[in-house]
């Protein structure tokens, strides 16, 4: 049974956030007999209660606290208060995610060494290698039931995939299949197989898609060593005179401030809230925020170079039927500077319903061009581009100078501008995506701009040297021994792959390290 812990219990590990990073870490630690409290800002909504409706689901799950955004990206103009599309609920964004689960490639872990210095980019090598992470990748794939690993069969291709695959064949792409997906292709781990419902982004009502909400979290709770406290929004981390963190201050379900003591604190609030929390926890001893001696907290915000290509055909596709993202082409994922940019990108099938299509196809667009595109909906196929973007110091999560949230804490202000490398990559991908669909007879194609960020990375990055980043190779902050970062904000660079498998692998690895250090008495 779930164990409730006392607010003054200073032996517990406190994890902030229950998503991919936090939810996994919580279960892993609990399995080792370590007492864990996960504080989660959002409510606990079980999968039966998810809603097959895009806007209703968004209202149910999305993080809608006030945020602002600036910089050169179009999102800041089209969605001035929605820089990111992420979740506030138990399970975090693993409720919304599509399930694409890819390993980062060997050369991408050494981006600086392999790409060389790129002007305007703050590239760095990860302090870990693919070889070091491989055993953890394997554990994560097994845990999440990733198709095409561990002998798990691939998902069947839906209509959108079939169009995509036909185009890939015509262009001569070789690495095209229905993806490595954390979606059950057959019953597994007490969860049923995918029913091709087509609402992966709205939370899988069958539980076929992996989410910490109904895998890691109940498994951890079953040990009697894990308490998940929903509606608990952490506003500040506090420390003692020696600089060790001691407790977190959080607003409970009634908005009342509480303090939970802790032996170790792990921040896993996703790449906007995690750095914001560290910055908001500034004190006399740490005037620039916790763990920020490098000045890199909140910097190097990455969101992948994205974009979509939709195309209309003479005949129906019904691309909204079935898995939202089970289809991939990996031929462009390598590093081949002859294309005019460093790093690579993946192309993945993607479908939206009518409401989201209207909102995202061409934000702000109207008139006959727009309406006739919508009229082609039933005959539309679509793909999403996800590529490596360049870390840049000025792309950052900052504290807003004047605006505060309901607890009196400065809200996050998210700044992003594409690097020229990002633009070159996106244009290349637009061209390939359009060629792919034209090769199978598309009558019209739409190079669609990036949506609010679903992949948020890099704002507490991992580095060998303390001066270059916020955490070491274990996700432990360089400055404070008992303070960890356990989410995607640790990423040193973005790589071309969807990030969650790596977040989960890092969390499993971090759990081993924390347990060792606790046993050794060093934290």
């Amino acid at each position: 049974m779930a164990a409730p812990y006392n607010l003054n219990d200073d032996s517990v590990v406190v994890i902030i956030g229950s998503g991919a990073g936090g939810g996994t870490l919580g279960n892993e630690l609990a399995q080792k007999g370590i007492d864990v409290v996960i504080l989660e800002a959002g409510a606990r909504i079980e999968y039966e209660d998810f809603i097959n409706d895009e806007w209703d689901s968004f209202a149910q799950l999305a993080w809608l606290d006030h945020r602002t955004t600036g910089g050169g990206w179009r999102v800041s103009k089209d969605f001035p208060n929605l820089p990111a599309w992420i979740v506030k609920a138990v399970g975090g964004t693993t409720t919304h995610w599509a399930g694409a689960s890819l390993r980062i490639q060997e050369h991408e872990f050494k981006a600086l060494s392999n790409y060389g210095k790129v002007e305007g980019a703050n590239l760095l090598d990860w302090p870990i290698t693919l070889a070091e992470l491989e055993p953890y990748y394997s554990k994560a794939e097994d845990k999440m039931g990733v198709t095409r690993t561990h002998g798990i069969e691939g998902l069947p291709g839906n209509n959108n995939f079939k169009v995509f695959k036909a185009g890939a064949d015509k262009l001569g792409y070789k690495e095209c299949h229905t993806g490595r997906m954390a979606i059950n292709s057959a019953d597994r781990d007490d969860r049923m197989s995918c029913q091709q419902t087509g609402f992966c982004f709205q939370g899988c009502k069958w539980g076929a898609k992996w989410s910490t909400l109904y895998t890691e979290i109940p498994k951890g709770e079953a040990t009697g060593r894990l308490e998940v406290r929903p509606n608990s929004h952490v506003v500040k981390i506090e420390h003692d005179a020696s600089g060790k963190v001691t407790n977190v201050v959080y607003a409970d379900k009634d908005g009342k401030l509480q303090s939970q003591k802790a032996r170790i604190i792990c921040v896993a609030g996703n790449s906007i809230e995690s750095p914001r929390l560290l910055l908001n926890s500034a004190s006399a001893k740490f005037p620039d925020g916790l763990a920020n001696s490098s000045g890199q907290v909140g910097k190097n915000y990455m969101r992948h170079t994205t974009g979509s290509v939709y195309a209309v055909f003479e005949k129906p596709v019904h691309f909204y039927r079935g898995t939202t993202m089970a289809g991939i082409i990996q031929d462009e994922a390598g590093h081949d500077p002859s294309r005019g940019f460093v790093g690579g990108y993946e192309m993945e099938t993607l479908a939206l319903g009518v409401p989201f299509m209207a909102a995202f196809l061409d934000p702000g667009g109207w008139g006959r061009s727009f309406a006739s595109a919508m009229d082609g909906y039933a005959n539309t196929a679509g793909l999403w581009i996800v590529g490596e973007d360049m870390p840049q110091e000025q792309n950052a999560v900052k504290l807003h100078a004047t605006l505060k949230d309901q607890y009196g804490m400065p809200i996050p202000d998210v700044w992003f501008t594409d690097h020229p490398n990002d633009v070159a990559m996106r244009n290349h991908a637009y061209k390939q995506g359009q060629a792919l669909y034209e090769a199978v007879g598309a009558t019209r194609a739409f190079p669609t701009p990036p949506y609010p960020s679903t992949h948020n990375l890099g704002t507490n990055r991992m580095s060998e040297k303390a001066q270059d980043g916020v955490v070491n190779k274990w996700g432990q902050t360089h400055d404070i021994k008992n303070l960890f970062v356990s989410d995607g904000s640790q990423f040193t660079t973005g790589a071309a792959e969807n990030p969650t498998l790596t977040i989960v692998s890092l969390a499993i690895r971090q759990a081993d390290y924390i347990a060792d250090q606790m046993n050794a008495g060093s934290i």
Binding site: N159, V163, G198, W206, H318, R321, G322, W366, V440
Partner: protein
Amino acid sequence: MTTIFERRRSPDSGLSRRELLKRGTVGAVLVIAGNAVISPDRAWGVETTALKPDTMATLIKLARDIYPHDKVPDRFYAIAVKGQDTKAGQDPAHRELIEVGVADLDARAGEGGYRGLGWEDDRVAILREVESTPFFQAVRGDLVVSFYNQKELWPHFGYEGESFSKGGYLKRGFDDIEWL
């Protein structure tokens, strides 16, 4: 509250055909009667509480010009913009924004007003002039959700909506494409 109502064809309901003819509004033109905008076939109407009914009629036209789907009847556009009246009732500044914005469209259109311009192209030319104004942004920004989020409209686009209760598409055509 703004209401959209289905018109019952009782003898005393609204305007007679003769009256309509007198007003010269027969055909695909919305009729203003009292505080309501009524469809030419009088099958439905929308009552306003805060905005002038004339303003509502223009909003309906404007909505169609923003997202022109020729096979979609006016009713769906009326439902999509009725929220503007509700909001105007709650917020005088919003009422001002809409009334002034619509008056501006009429002024730009000249005699006969915005709705009097026969060609969509002529109306769209005016909209291109005002597309960055807060008025246009407020109307379009709301409309992109209030229009396309109508479930009754999804069949027009060939979108089937909720699918969990039907068991997903596993046995209902997720891979039924034949023309490839």
